[in-house]
């Protein structure tokens, strides 16, 4: 059996404590030159795509804007489209919220990005419902939590109807006869549903990829089901071998129920890395990076995610609090997805106290050990082998790498690990195609299929 080819992508360092801003090498996270450097490195390494996350309200903790991590980022569509001008093949994946946007506008923006990048657009569809973020938008915090996937699904369905409302053969542009459009009804659509009741004509002709590639990042059962039914790729958080294999098996196993085959959904976990000349050097470096990522102040703030209490009086180098978490509504940290990971704070607190006591860990040690272990640590040879092993063992189809330094953190991976993967014959030495769908080995949604999916015309 031939070895699986590895897919690699690059996540621009985000507004969280994975990103080390205190390092002298850390550059701007907003200036275009940083994005251009990062994208061009990814393209030099023949990566499938660049990935951008998004958050639509600055995070707060204890009633104040959170100031310990990188804060601030550019508009996703605008920066991705500008990057299309300084790259030629690299896919451009943007995280866009289905709650605080409208399908007509988002479909226009993705179709425009796909045209302006010659077929390199992808959309990571995320949902949110919180009134906190809603305070920045017309619609406000209107969405009950249990409706967020129903709105996301209908948003994506509606956007797909808009993408498919042009079939690709409408523009004739025949000067002699004066026929620009074959059909005056090009782009006609009607959508009536629980969340959207819209109709009219979409005004962007069919783009090179037909539709953007669709990513999904949710991890709940609903999120996995949404991905199995509608996504081309999953941005998952299981970069460890066993968890990765379990997730991979689970999600790929859901595809048949939706009439899809395993190769129609790629599983791409986020992965961090630290490289050194030797494994020992990399391990030492990784330890230092973790101390940079989790300062004492950061450790206390992260503990508050679970405790839901002001813990500012605790010593980060001391033991964990004896008091139990506040089980009321989570009020201490706002605008953060990870507080939802702790579904049973009492149990988490108990487990953490036991682990800390057994290992003689301080608060800071515990936060480092539970949250900030890098996915791949070692020499280039070790990391290349590990990544290859993980992919061949069906823990993933590849990885979305998250460097901890902006914008140069990807350079060393491109220069040292990528050539080794190429030598192993598991990674491309040149782009074979021009669109992101080509890079990912996905087929273009056909106009015929598109036609049958249209609600009405």
């Amino acid at each position: 059996m031939p070895r699986k080819q590895i897919h690699l992508a690059a996540h621009f360092p985000g507004v969280n404590n994975t990103t080390v801003w205190s390092d002298p090498k850390a550059g701007s996270h907003v200036e275009f030159s940083s994005f251009a450097h990062f994208a061009q490195t990814a393209e030099r390494a023949k990566f499938d795509f660049l990935f951008l996350a998004e958050g639509l309200r600055l995070r707060e903790q204890g009633g104040e804007i959170y100031d310990l991590d990188v804060v601030g980022r550019p508009d996703t569509f605008t920066i991705l489209t500008a990057l299309a001008a300084v790259t030629e093949r690299l896919g451009l994946t943007g995280t866009i919220n289905s709650t605080f946007n409208e399908p007509y506008e988002v479909a226009r923006q993705f179709a425009s990005l796909d045209h302006l990048s010659d077929g390199r657009a992808a959309w990571n569809v995320v949902t949110s419902w919180d009134a906190f973020t809603g305070e920045n938008f017309r619609r406000g915090g209107f969405l009950p939590q249990d409706e967020r996937y129903s709105r996301a699904k209908e948003f994506l369905t509606t956007a797909s109807e808009l993408f498919d409302s042009w079939h690709g053969d409408e523009i004739v542009a025949d000067r002699a006869s004066g026929t620009f459009l074959r059909d005056a009804q090009a782009g006609a659509f009607v959508h009536q549903g629980q969340h959207f009741d819209i109709s009219g004509q979409f005004n962007v002709p069919r783009s090179p990829q037909g539709r953007p590639v669709i990513f999904q990042a949710g991890d709940s059962d609903e999120g996995r089901e949404f991905a199995a039914s509608s996504a081309d790729a999953i941005f998952s958080r299981y970069s460890a071998l066993k968890e990765g294999q379990a997730f991979y098996t689970d999600v790929k196993g859901r595809l048949a129920r939706h009439g899809r085959t395993p190769d129609q959904l790629l599983i791409l976990p986020a992965a961090t890395f630290v490289l050194g000349e030797s494994d020992a050097e990399a391990a030492e470096l990784a330890r230092e990076v973790r101390r940079q990522q989790v300062s004492g102040a950061t450790a206390i703030k992260h503990l508050e995610f679970v405790w839901n209490r002001d813990l500012s009086g605790y010593d980060p180098d001391g033991p964990l609090p004896d008091i139990d978490p506040d089980l009321g509504e989570h009020t201490i940290a706002r605008g953060r997805a990870q507080v939802r990971m702790y579904r049973d704070p009492l149990a988490t607190a108990r487990e953490w106290r036991e682990r800390a006591a057994a290992n003689k860990w301080s608060i800071r040690d515990l936060v480092i050990e539970t949250g900030n272990r890098q996915s791949f640590v070692g020499s280039p040879a070790t990391v290349a082998e590990t990544i290859d092993d993980f992919v061949q063992a069906d823990a993933a189809d590849g990885f979305i790498l998250v460097p901890h330094i902006t914008p140069g953190g990807l350079d060393v991976f491109a220069d040292t690990v990528v050539p080794l993967l190429q030598e192993r014959g598991v990674y491309r030495t040149e782009y074979e195609g021009s669109t992101l769908r080509d890079h990912l080995g996905l087929t273009e949604p056909s106009a015929l299929e598109a036609g049958t999916r249209r609600v009405a015309s």
């Binding site: 801003w21 500008a82 506008e105 005004n203």
Partner: protein, 410 residues
């Protein structure tokens, strides 16, 4: 204000922009041999146009947009198949050409009626970052029923052009422009919601930002409330350039209160004087008399070295379209010297610049950059090289202080 003495040499240089829209503003423009109708949805096409405008040292380009198909009808969609239909998002076109240009301003159209001011503010701020300080926006409202149905949030009554002065229509347009004013207010406050030195990267205290230099904007209006701050730091220009097209008193108020540039459509010097007087009076009433506010005249242009050729071209295009093309703006046909004469005459009436709408962009844009611009330069009426790196700089606007900064920075 507008001196009547005819001394062109004493008038300041005028500002020049072009308005880009598909193959050009004439509905049959795409049928000309020089046009590239099959490339209207490609990056190369737009890059070529904006680079040509930059070779001509123009202040900026505007890019038309709309949240529905183009139409020959005033308020309703049509069923024509003989004109260009479909367009790309204007902000994204501007973003795509920004890294390929260095001096020219980029001013995409944004429809305030259906968009989120929070998204628009960070999009234009980001355009300002990717262009190193050359971003602006042109705010537009939409009362089109079909566009409202694309969003499903509100409905508008059917409008007829002959009802423009009816009380119902006046109330509707007043409401739409009030909303646009709120939209601009939110966009502007969000640009200022980060002070310039908010990012401190203080390793000693572990703080990336000084949170006291980030500000809630706490805007509450009839159509939306926005808390802030923006997720995007203050853009390089501080405040990118805001512009709007205006034809009557209600939008003149918007121009006077909220913008840096108003585009107006006088057909002669007397009309220009009247429009400028009204806007300047409204500007003073809004307490902005001391602030620079440009008033640009919009003109559709068909430009050839031989004036007869320009007129014949327009006639031929009307023949292809099947009707006589008319416009809100004056339609000029003639040669560069005649156009330069007209622009300088209108400048003396109080206009500070012009936004030219090329009849056929493939023909009339190079005629502007290679014909009109050298003619104006010979008269000392236009720059011979770019004198600034930002759009505000080209327009003579200083970088404004931040409204939220506690004390004036020295």
């Amino acid at each position: 204000m507008s001196s009547s003495s005819l001394l062109p040499s004493s008038t300041p240089a005028l500002h020049l922009a072009v308005a880009l829209d598909g193959a050009g503003w004439h509905p049959a423009a795409w049928r000309e041999q020089v046009s590239r109708p099959r490339e209207l949805f490609t990056a190369r096409y737009w890059a070529d146009l904006v680079q040509e405008a930059e070779r001509g040292l123009l202040d900026f380009v505007t890019i038309e947009d709309g949240l529905g198909p183009q139409s020959s009808h005033f308020t309703e969609p049509d069923t024509r198949t003989d004109q260009v239909r479909g367009r790309l998002d204007a902000v994204l076109i501007a973003a795509r050409v920004a890294p390929l240009t260095r001096h020219i301003g980029l001013v995409p159209t944004v429809v305030a009626t259906h968009t989120e001011p929070f998204h628009i503010s960070k999009a234009i701020a980001t355009l300002d970052y990717v262009s190193s300080g050359r971003a602006g926006l042109r705010v537009q409202v939409s009362a089109r029923r079909n566009e409202a149905a694309h969003f499903g949030r509100r409905t508008f009554p059917a409008l007829r052009i002959e009802d423009l002065d009816s009380p119902e229509v006046k109330e509707l347009t007043g409401d739409l422009f009030d909303e646009a004013a709120d939209h601009i207010e939110v966009v502007r406050r969000l640009w200022d919601s980060w002070e310039d030195d908010a990012e401190i990267r203080d390793v000693a205290t572990g703080r990336f930002i000084d949170r006291d230099k980030l500000h809630y904007i706490d805007f509450e209006g009839r159509h939306f409330s926005v808390k802030g701050p923006s997720i995007t730091p203050r853009p390089p220009q501080g405040q990118p350039v805001v512009s709007a097209l205006a034809h009557q008193s209600v939008p003149f108020q918007l121009v006077a209160r909220s913008t840096d540039i108003g585009f107006v459509t006088p057909h002669d010097a007397d009309q220009a004087r009247a429009v400028v007087d009204e806007i300047r009076a409204a500007q003073a009433a809004a307490g902005r008399a001391d602030e620079p506010l440009h008033v640009f005249g919009d003109l559709v242009v068909f430009l050839d070295d031989d004036p007869a050729a320009a007129a014949a071209r327009r006639e031929r295009l009307d023949g292809l379209a099947g009707y006589t093309y008319t416009s809100d703006a004056r339609i000029f046909t003639g040669n560069p010297a005649q156009l330069a004469n007209l622009l300088q005459e209108l400048q003396l009436a109080g206009l500070t610049g012009f936004r030219l709408r090329p009849g056929v962009v493939g023909h009339d844009l190079p005629a502007i950059t290679q014909g009109l611009v050298p003619e104006l330069q010979r008269r000392g009426g236009f720059r011979s090289e770019y004198e600034a790196d930002t759009l505000r700089g080209l327009l003579g606007l200083t970088r404004p202080a931040n409204r939220y900064a506690a004390t004036a920075t020295v």
